[in-house]
Symmetry: C2
Subunit: 339 residues, 2 copies
DNA sequence: CTGAAAGCGCTTACAG
DNA sequence: CTGAAAGCGCTTACAG
């Protein structure tokens, strides 16, 4: 690899001049600029980002860190795509790590990001309190929370309105005549799950339907849990006629279980799933499920722009961005009857 | 952020001793070790990876670069998961970039990886020749090709046996009695597409079925192309009774188009799709498609291990790993008749 | 076993 | 406009 010294000796100038030619061409004679540029081209020289970033105390690394549970979850894949597109456009590079909701792995990865001196970190927080996050904060590395909020640390956050999303879903079911609506969702320690349940309950209350604890099931977000909880819910003495599944994985578990039990959707049980599937894949499912679609790609974009703006202006007060989800009505609830 | 100097002054030793305590504890008195460790703990000190990597000519950055077309494609998501899992286990961090098959973006990203001095790069090559790749090679940065091969540069490569995969699919269709089998695949500039077409043709030949150019359609890998080519194929005077779709996106396009045209699967047209869907999502489709499943996660794992071993031993001759795909028989071809 | 010093490849005041 | 020099935070021969 050619180095600054190689270029400078080839061009017959000092390394400082080469550096200036690259970083502030206007500060250099056209003549010099030309000589240096020729040497750079001849050698295929590119400044080492590694060396460059060591230089200044607050030298930018132009690297952003992203920590997610699992890139194989289409929700996070879409999120990451949004993040990376904005990052790449702005000359930033992405470090990605999967941590499977494991606090130990998460801490380890956040620690790595700190020692990498990344310019910022984007991630969906698991718990309310987190030592590693605090550490990043103290190291002056800005953090943007996506999808979920922290309840302690004040930082930029981009979420969708989960309460509104779940409310829309449940209201839709109520308007179709359902009164016994089950909720199968993720753990309440995650803010998004907590809020979706809240939206579920609010919708019921607003329509004067009592909340029946028997109809509320929560578990770790997985297809398997979706199955288990569906079985549990359909086995009670007075089972629900409609279900809200709290996320994409659980929705698939619910659908698979209902199919196994030969319970037809929407005739015997109506279903709304939280989170849409990519590629319009929902349209190919049997039946195409009505879902609450989050603007996931946009969450990624907004979060990244927020992060970049904070890198520019570290003292700006924390911003909360709340995007609106959309109810995609398909075939899993039967036909839609307007109120 | 605490620095080596902070620790050394707090512990009352030189920075060299602190460095040794961290990197080679046995070279230091237990007494010293203890003092230094106490200072490290008190300050929450972690060595800067940025500074560390600048030190040695061939200093490891412990970063791997991964460049893919699109993380939203479940195939690449699974691949990346395999890569990241092995990387993380071995203390490596991942830089990820999406380039959408765009040679310009790809070159730009590879260039960035070079200036980041990553320890190695994993990616599915698009074209046969690539200047940026050569550059990485010359910069001593090892490259592992996944999913597709380069025809010029000799480097470690992990692929699946695409010829065998397509052969299995087409043989399956032939055994079910089909003679007019259409092929809808990706561009032949991509080695995997080329090989799948080759497998398709080989299977026909081995069964004495003439190859009909009218039944072969190729286009850029997308759902939209899948649609267009399906229409084209079903509009010819003597349309196929079975189809092989060359990848997951095109398979979805084919299914959607057949559904639109009210052509039933498998009764009117049998279908095998290349690439499986994650989460057993295929089982939820209508109908569940028979697919050629690649061990995608394993491709990622093997590629990463290959890369790590090459970092250890740069002179080792290039290795080609060929994994075997598997035909997952589901409902889109009708019942399976053994020969 | 420990410390002083050089050096990794850059950038940026500071002189001239 | 240009160059000499300091310094970013480490690691590692080289002495002692």
């Amino acid at each position: 690899m050619a180095t600054l010294l190689d270029v400078s000796s080839k061009a017959g100038v000092s390394i400082a001049t080469v550096s200036r030619t690259i970083n502030k061409p206007s500060s250099v004679t056209p003549m010099t600029r030309h000589k240096v540029q020729a040497a750079i081209d001849a050698l295929g020289y590119r400044p080492s980002r590694v060396a460059r970033r060591l230089r200044v105390e607050h030298g930018s690394t132009h690297i952003l860190g992203v920590i997610i549970p699992d890139i194989q979850n289409p929700f996070f894949a879409e999120l990451v795509r949004g993040i990376e597109d904005v990052a790449q456009t702005n000359g930033y590079t992405l470090i990605l790590a999967n941590v499977d909701e494991d606090p130990v792995r998460q801490s380890r990865c956040l620690e790595t990001l700190r020692t990498e001196s990344v310019d910022g970190v984007i991630f969906p927080p698991v718990t309310g309190e987190n030592a590693s996050i605090r550490m990043l904060h103290e190291a002056g590395i800005p953090v943007v929370c996506v999808d979920r909020r922290m309840d302690t640390l004040e930082c930029d956050t981009v979420v969708t309105d989960n309460i509104a999303g779940a409310k829309k879903a449940v209201t839709h079911l109520i308007q179709l005549g359902h009164r016994r609506i089950g909720y199968i969702g993720g753990m309440p320690i995650v803010s998004s799950s907590r809020e979706r349940r809240m939206g579920y309950e609010t919708a019921l209350q607003e329509h004067g339907i009592p909340i029946d604890p028997d109809l509320i099931c929560e578990g770790t977000r997985s297809k398997e849990q979706g199955r288990t909880l569906t079985h549990a819910l359909m086995d009670i003495s007075h089972p629900p006629t409609a279900l809200l599944a709290g996320n994409n994985l659980m929705t698939l578990g619910v659908m698979a279980t209902l199919r196994e039990r030969q319970i037809t959707i929407p005739e015997q049980v109506a279903l709304v799933g939280y989170d849409d599937l990519p590629w319009n894949l929902a349209l190919a499912l049997n039946p195409p499920p009505t879902t609450v679609r989050q603007p996931t790609y946009q969450i990624g974009c907004r979060a990244t722009r927020l992060l970049l703006s904070r890198i520019e202006e570290p003292q700006r007060p924390p911003t909360l961005v709340v995007l609106q989800p959309e109810l995609k009505i398909r075939a899993s609830c039967g036909s839609y009857i307007t109120q």
